[in-house]
Symmetry: none
Subunit: 263 residues, 2 copies
DNA sequence: GAAGCGGACG
DNA sequence: CGTCCGCTTC
């Protein structure tokens, strides 16, 4: 079983890249972020034509997440409700969370707020959002010990996940407060699937469009698969596919795939 | 000597087309319209690198004219002032006129208002603008009998300059009032250089982006060179180059070149 | 309806 | 650098 996460930076603009990649890789579930389209305008048929079931939670212009699956998914939920009560309205407005049951476990697909710059309102929003995510995942785990949380986390977990960790404390996606928020999630009982197989630094999933960052390999590893123990046991591979990032008009993110034993 | 006029519909978007065309054609002076950029952001160096001197009169988003010349130009003037006094402020606000001395004659580069639709405020603006243009050119001719006026006139002089003249009286760019305004300019002593050499109908310089107008050759001849008698005598060719209109992401206008004897 | 710009966001 | 949108123009 292969589960992939890919921030596509507009599903409409990246339609060809995504359908081609699905054809090439045959992943079982693809978790998309930054679809940037309202549900009525999501291009469903290119994916149903390939045999995928489509579950979407989108909005105009920004954010938006989706699940594509070769088999139907059960109990699809959008946003933090009803797992978490009393979520600030502004944290639920942005469409960043979609989850569903697949093969007896729960897949949670996240598009974590970027945070803009340290100390900005958006940075505060990101940290508030993580507090709610913590409660949300805590609630999920209480009901179901098998959880896979993936997506664009907009945080590099460690210094080896950044091309240049110098001065990182001032850099959004690398500050101590963000890493602590991420660690609090991990402490619920999640482990980073990629690091089960690969300890090297310089393994990136995102490269800024600016400053020829991809050509110079100035990237960050911010697209992650966090697995609860029973799934972490079953993980047999986790890979970043840089090929789509080399195409014309690419997303700034590469897809990341985790493979689990069938058990 | 070759003088060309080209409405490029954004010099920044069309930069490659224009530099390539200059390289291919080696015109002496290129008169640009709809540069759509403030002077500080005009891409000067691509043209200076090709050996052109650059004179610009631009504004944000709309309008904007420029002169590119292989040799330095003298007495460059922008707008109607100081030739015409007491011009309504709204007629000078839009950057549509740039002029300069070249080889002993004056080149006037115009971007005539489009006029939107008959009876609209913009249509009235266009006719008012022509009244000032008339005074402006009258003043120029009094000082200097050798004048070349070119640009996007947004008027087709005759029915043979329109793909379908039926119902043209209701069509902006072809109404009687507009043609009379244009004729009043001609009556100052200008003649249409193109018609010195070519009497055929269906000779167009502009094709709407809509309705596959270019493919179906549904165009208009609205990009003109008007020459005062001494220059008209010297004209030895006037041609519309449709090649750039066939490129990817073209301007909706083709460049029009007039050639004069060196005399 | 096609295409431009500017501004927000990343 | 590249997405989206609202706006304007033609």
């Amino acid at each position: 079983m292969k589960i992939a996460t890919w921030n596509v930076n507009s599903i409409r603009t990246r339609l060809e890249h995504v359908t081609q990649w699905l054809t090439d890789t045959s992943v079982d579930v693809l978790c998309l972020q930054e679809t940037k389209v309202v549900d009525e305008s999501f291009p469903r048929s290119p994916f149903t034509d390939l045999g995928y079931h489509v579950y979407i939670y989108g909005q105009k212009s920004y954010n938006g997440v989706a699940l594509l699956s070769r088999t139907p998914l059960e109990n699809v939920s959008m946003g933090f409700a009803p797992e978490v009560a009393d979520v600030d309205a502004d944290l639920e407005e942005q469409k960043r969370v979609i989850a569903a049951d697949f093969q007896g476990y729960r897949i949670v697909n996240l598009y974590v707020p970027n945070g803009s710059s340290v100390g900005s309102d958006k940075y505060d929003y990101k940290l508030r959002w993580f507090k709610v995510l913590h409660r949300y995942l805590q609630s999920l785990l209480a009901a179901q010990p098998q959880v896979l949380v993936c997506g664009d986390f907009n945080i590099a977990p460690e210094d080896r996940d950044i091309h240049d960790p110098k001065g990182r404390e001032k850099q959004v996606m690398a500050t101590e407060a963000e890493r602590q928020a991420l660690q609090a999630i991990a402490d619920l009982g999640f482990a980073d699937a990629f690091r089960k197989f690969n300890q090297e630094d310089g393994q990136f999933s995102w490269w800024d469009y600016r400053a020829a960052a991809f050509r110079r390999d100035l990237g960050w590893r911010i697209d992650l698969h966090y697995l609860s123990p029973p799934l972490y046991e079953r993980a047999i591979a986790c890979t970043i596919d840089k090929a789509p990032r080399k195409l014309e008009k690419p997303s700034d993110h590469a897809p990341v795939t985790v493979e689990l034993t069938d058990s």
